[in-house]
Amino acid sequence: MNRYLVATAGLSLLGLSVTACGASPSSSSTAPRAITVGTLYSGSGAFATSSQPQLAGLKFWISQENSKGGVYVGAYHKRIHVKLVTYNDQSSATTAATLYTQLITQNKVNVLVSDFGSVLTAPAVTIAQEHHQLLFDPTGTGTVFFTPGNKYIVLTALPTSGIWPAPLVQFLLAQHISKVAILYDSNDFDASQAATVDSGLKAGGVTPVYYQAVPSATASYGTLIQSIKATNPGAVLEFGYPPNDIAFLQALRSSGVHFPMVFTAFPGQLHQLLESNVGQAGLSYTYSYGFPPQLAYNTVNEGLGTSAFVQAFAPTDPASVNFLDIAGYQTGLVIQAALRHASSLSQLALRNAVASVSGSLNTIDGSFKIDSQGGQVGELLPVSQLFPSGSTTKIQMVYPPASATHSAVYPAP
Amino acid sequence: MAEPLLLVSDLTKNFGRFCALDGVGLDLGAGEVVGLVGPNGSGKTTLINVVSGLYPPTRGTVTLAGRPVHGGAPHTVVRSGMNRTFQIAKPLGGLTVEENLRLAGASAGHRPLPEGDLLQLVGLSGLQGRVAGSLNASQQKRLDLARALATGPRVLLVDELGAGLSPAELDQAAGILRQLAEAGMALLVVEHLMGFLAKVTRAVVVLNAGRQIFRGDLDQAVQDPEVVRVFLGG
């Protein structure tokens, strides 16, 4: 028996030492040599297409600040170089949990930023709370993350799913559409969107004629479209992730079924991806949310305006800039404002600094405003419609009137 | 004769439309040895498989010392005191010889023979440490017999023990069976080798196409027209 003991003990130590990484210098009273920002990204898997541009936007902000000698830290009245630490969670929430802990306990990052979307943000919420680390959450909008007891989270680039769909509800009511069909994927993000629209419509006296959840892995929508057609709705809202929106719009086009209004969430956010998969015919006259950069904000008091950002971020191919690039950059701007106003680098000081700028920060992503639970209540996204232009489609804001750049065409031709 | 140890009555077994056993009856008293002979496919092995509990009978009963055992899983039959050997020995390959016997002994219903004597009886002493899978064919057959005996059976169904053994080993095997019978064990011996069978018992039952066509002394059997026709064809 004993020869095994030696082998196991030796190997397990080897196994452990291999994984031990050097811990970065802990923050002390004198100014740290660098501000470390830690985040995760998905190198592969379902969320890769959205996660990587978000990281690119954050990296762009860091390079901008480092080119000016680092980010200005109010507590030390000087600019400090920003170091970025990233790990690849391969779109898996379980792996992400291990890596978030790695960022906090091993790399001891000053600023923690979560990966794209609710699924990959969920593990970060409790881990950050338990380690008393403030979590900058760019796009994880699940309503369950924002609870009175948790001070350690700030939603930076998107409104919480609880209020985000408000403009869409008002648009439907304004168009007096009495029969609305809602098809949503059973995951955190889509379910809370659908629930918010459902309650908003009922408050306006409209009860959806079709309200159905389908598994997130659904890929064949042909039969579902027939069931929806049977209720002959005035508007069809499909809440999914990019693969679902693509499959839905493709099935809609190839089945020859026509609805007066079709809404999906991601064309506004990942225009090029949807365009390449669904094509002009499938996207024309469909509705989506209006996202920057199509939703332009050029009068800003923090960071670059929309046109300046697009030129600086992708000078050679401005059309390729999508909302997630801006979400990453926007998160950087919130960190920048927090570091400027914070009295120290402690996490609670950062949280208070973010609260102090809330309501007065106008950026490329709109006016930044958070509630007491860290949820984003500003940056409301208008309803947009895609119009054919040349061989592709162009996104125009159609509601609310204040940010409209084109009048809505209902019913769709 | 005292109440029979093993009583098989009207035992029938069909596999789909094929009738392998058709109303076979049999009884064995303590210490009694009966040979079971018949051409290939006459139902000899099926009889052992059904009596030992490997297959449930379609009809008929098997009672052991007055208690019915038919339809029960083999381990219930073993625990009530009856075991069998296999035509092709199937020892527990992954275990050592000693482990094979320790396991069988542990689940015995009756007082099993001590391991040392058992190994000595079947001629495997000294091989306790060997993994059963690494034994040669005849050693595996002996281990199979030892495994059956380790459960302390009062009735043993022996399926072609003689097959593949050398003349010397045949004598040895016959000696073992006689020794078991003298100790009071009832034996049903399925065999093709009449010479080997004659060394163990005079009483035979002849099966053909699932039916018992003769029971009695070996000498009479060879003159019985029906048996002759079945074996030699006529």
Binding site: R3, A7, T8, L11, S12, G15, L16, V18, T19, A20, C21, S44, Y87, N88, Q90, A93, T94, T95, A97, T98, T101, Q102, T105, V119, A122, P123, T126, I127, Q129, E130, V144, G149, N150, S186, N187, D188, A191, A213 | S52, L54, A73, H75, F86, K90, P91, L92, G93, G94, L95, E99, N100, L103, A106, S107, G129, V131, D144, R147, A150, T151
Partner: protein, 314 residues
Amino acid sequence: MPAAGFVVANAFYPNQQELVMMMVYLALAQGINVIYGFTGYLPFGYVGFFGAGAYGLALSVLYLHVPAGVGLLFAVLAAVAVAALLFPLLRLEGVYFAIASLAAAEALYEVISNPSLAAVTKGPYGINLVSAYNANASFVAAVALVAVSMGIVVYLRTSRLGLALRAIRSDAVSAEFAGINVVQRRTVAWLLSAAMAGAAGGTFAWYTSTFYPGAVFDSSISIFAIVFALFGGVGTTWGPALGAVVLFGVYNAVGISQPQYFQLIYGVLIVLLVLFLPGGLGSLVQRLAPRWRRLRRTPGRGPEALPGVGGPDG
């Protein structure tokens, strides 16, 4: 002994999350050892018990307001209940059993994560046990999990039940004729293996405290546990434990430093493992051991490891 190893490791390696995951996988690998190493059944849907355990703890904490420690009992009960429900699977052989258990685990996932059951299981919207979160207590639970799972395997290797299981694995028919109630013994191993996965699931749920159904029913968890057990060598006491510690260590090291190559390296590792080391590390150590023992000229016992891995028959 390995349990103590982990306590020591925690002292100087603060990423507790990774250590807990390593301990969870060690228990799962030993669970595979119990069911595959001892009875020859390879459950490709082993994660079903893991997920059942995670939800057993989560729902008992959320609805019955039991402390998480007690929740672990509910985790084991939930997994054992699922195993009992899946008894008929034991009638199947080899490939059918592997694939059927995979389908059973996926079916269980679809039921638990279904929105129409959200009122009971929170459906696809995930579980949030922040109230029960206690990193140190759950770490201790993980260490206990390792100790218990190692203990179960040691018990099996030395007890009559273990011997009976190995007999069943060699030949179920002749095991029956050695007086072993094959169905009953196989069921005990099945329930024991499910209980171990359930406890591992409960410990994971308690430690991470927020998870989506997809995280605890991820089919790669079954595959990881199987590969860790095979890499270490099934049928032995230390094999699967060794496999879990070494392979999970490599998994994390590679996963953190060069993630994009991770899946490629991992796939190639599995292919090489099956082609060149089917018996796992155990068989390697076993092949080296005789030479080593001859050097030390001490009387060695029979080879501990089974010669390779056997399939169920009978």
